[in-house]
């Protein structure tokens, strides 16, 4: 059983706010979903050796890099706030 406290905690972990007005509904829906996927807990899987996945090399050789700054302006255009080519964010560490 999920409690409203559980949902609040998950929301905090996921950097999302669930409003108090939605909390009951979210929790009961959450419970129904967990109840359904909970069938996995009781599921007996056939024993036997774990099959190793077949691995293949997907790495590639470093190619010629693109010219520095080629995409800078395009990407910077999407910034919510910019200072030249830099992205402006709030100060995280203060000296207070």
């Amino acid at each position: 059983m999920a409690t409203t406290e559980d949902v609040k905690k998950l929301a905090a972990l996921a950097r999302i706010r669930v409003e108090d007005s939605e909390l009951e509904k979210f929790t009961s829906e959450f419970d129904a979903i967990l109840d359904y996927v909970g069938q996995l807990e009781k599921l007996e899987l056939p024993k036997g050796e774990k099959v190793k996945p077949t691995l293949r090399n997907v790495m590639r050789v470093d190619g010629e890099p693109h010219a520095a700054g080629k995409y800078t302006e395009k990407l910077a255009e999407q910034f919510p706030a910019r200072d030249g080519d830099a992205l402006v964010v709030k100060q995280i560490i203060t000296h207070d």
Partner: protein
């Protein structure tokens, strides 16, 4: 002659080469239909203006006689596939103003052939849903009955093709998002083998499950579009080379496996009757039926609803209001994140992020995520075993025809929509939905689909059996 916008790809290709039609006329016919019908259907989030350069150059290539098949054909693109310079919002408030800074690999391939893009289509937010009701920009309506959903999440692409507002479309399929809307709108929908089509430039939902696939009026069209977009890509290391899974012969008469036990409950009587009639037609034309057992399928949906949200919560963590997308601001950096994500994500998206956070959290990861992953491996082995006795596996794409708006308002009943389709995403195998007939609901005829799964890289078997359905 068929109206230009009502043509299939193959018909349009012929008409363009026979000089019965110009690229401009074909574009105008699709564009006019799209502009006329979109206010009612909401299939498109944006209808693009004509790109004169692209239209003229396509016409010239056709005139020169060396044009690829898709040259000059207007197709619609799901709003989670990036086209450089165009908005790609994934039908979310979070990305409502996000402009793609590059082309997805599939778009690059289509541009090389001279394909035209007519617009970006509506979908469930971040491809999460089975009805398009979760779009931040209003639902898409099913052109067969506008009181019903078109399916989802690629519902906009499906209706754009079904209502002849383009010639064909691309969607993406994580748990059935191409095949279920194809079934609900009377189209062919293909989910290729995982790794057959590059995911570079597809806004990620469940990275181990996502594939881009075509929604078309015919099998032939699906084949043309698939051949154009597929192929190994340096920008997506999960793409696979031809023949990785060995080359399987595609015999003339196919052995069709049917998991009868899974169809005993929950499928509407008239859908099952249509399914049986279709199977009878297949045996009449020389194909054979084989009983198959896929017991793990009963747990596939539960495994999917653990693995998918886990991947969703991880993929959507990058959307934080910092570098692009919606940027709400509070007093602290933490508040910036929380406000942006809470404002930007719709209810279903937030629900799945929370669910994913839960199944990955310490104390639950073994009981849920790891167990689901193990069940996924068993499911795959069951399918591989079943394919020793058959070439394709058949069942109805959905247990019922399209449902009404609001009918599945609790999340779990919506999730059950994917019950038959998710297995192909979990196993990575290719699957197709093909129209198999109509069933009547409240005086309206609604399309239903038959679904075939084939072994990895055996798309050709799907096209062959699909052609046999007609």
């Amino acid at each position: 002659m068929t109206k230009a916008n009502e043509m299939t790809i193959v018909e349009a290709v012929r008409a363009l080469r026979a000089r019965e039609l110009t690229v401009r006329e074909l574009w105008d016919a699709c564009s006019a239909a799209a502009r006329a019908k979109n206010p009612e259907l909401n299939a498109y989030l944006e209808i693009f203006d004509a790109d004169d350069t692209a239209i003229n150059s396509a016409q010239k290539r056709i005139g020169d006689g060396d044009a690829p098949l898709l040259c000059g054909i207007p197709i619609a693109i799901k709003d989670n596939i990036l086209i450089e310079g165009k908005i790609a919002s994934a039908a979310s408030k979070m990305l409502a103003n996000y402009r793609a800074t590059y082309d997805a690999t599939v778009i690059k391939k289509l541009k090389n052939t001279g394909t035209l893009f007519i617009g970006r289509t509506n979908m469930d937010e971040f491809a999460m849903g089975s009805s398009t009701e979760h779009s931040a920009f209003g639902p898409t309506k099913n052109s067969h009955d506008i009181s019903r959903v078109p399916g989802g999440s690629s519902g906009g692409s499906a209706v754009a093709v079904a209502a002849h507002l383009c010639i064909a479309a691309l969607g993406s399929d994580t748990g059935g998002s191409v095949r279920q809307p194809a079934a609900y709108t009377g189209l062919v929908g293909l989910k290729p083998t995982y790794g057959a089509v590059s995911r570079s430039g597809l806004i990620a939902m469940g990275s181990s499950l996502d594939q881009i696939g075509p929604l078309t009026k015919t099998i032939e069209d699906a084949h043309v579009l698939y051949e154009t977009i597929r192929g190994i890509d340096i920008l997506d290391s999960t793409t696979i080379p031809d023949g990785l899974y060995g080359v399987l012969a595609s015999p003339k008469h196919l052995r069709v496996g049917v998991p009868w036990r899974l169809l005993e409950n929950g499928v509407d009587a008239d859908v099952l009757t249509t399914f049986n009639t279709t199977l009878a037609h297949l045996t009449d034309t020389g194909h054979t039926l084989v009983d198959v057992e896929l017991p793990m399928s009963s747990h596939a949906l539960a495994a999917y609803y653990v693995i998918m949200p886990a991947e969703v919560s991880t993929n959507l963590a990058r959307l934080d209001g910092m570098r692009y997308g919606l940027a709400e601001r509070g007093d602290t950096l933490l508040e910036d994140y929380i406000k942006s994500r809470t404002e930007g994500f719709g209810e279903e998206t937030r629900r799945r992020i929370l669910l994913g956070t839960f199944v990955l959290s310490s104390g639950y990861i073994d009981a849920y995520y790891k167990k689901a992953d193990a069940a996924r491996a068993v499911l795959r082995r069951e399918y591989e075993k079943a394919f020793e006795s058959c070439d394709v596996i058949a069942f109805p794409t959905t247990p019922s025809p399209a449902f009404k708006f609001g009918q599945k308002s609790d999340p779990l009943s919506m999730y059950l929509e994917d019950i038959f389709t998710v297995t192909a995403n979990l196993t990575g195998m290719p699957a197709i939905s093909v129209p198999m007939g109509m069933v009547e609901r409240e005086g309206k005829n609604l399309p239903v689909g038959i679904h075939f799964t084939a072994p990895h890289q055996s798309e050709n078997s799907l096209f062959a059996i699909g052609e046999a359905v007609y």
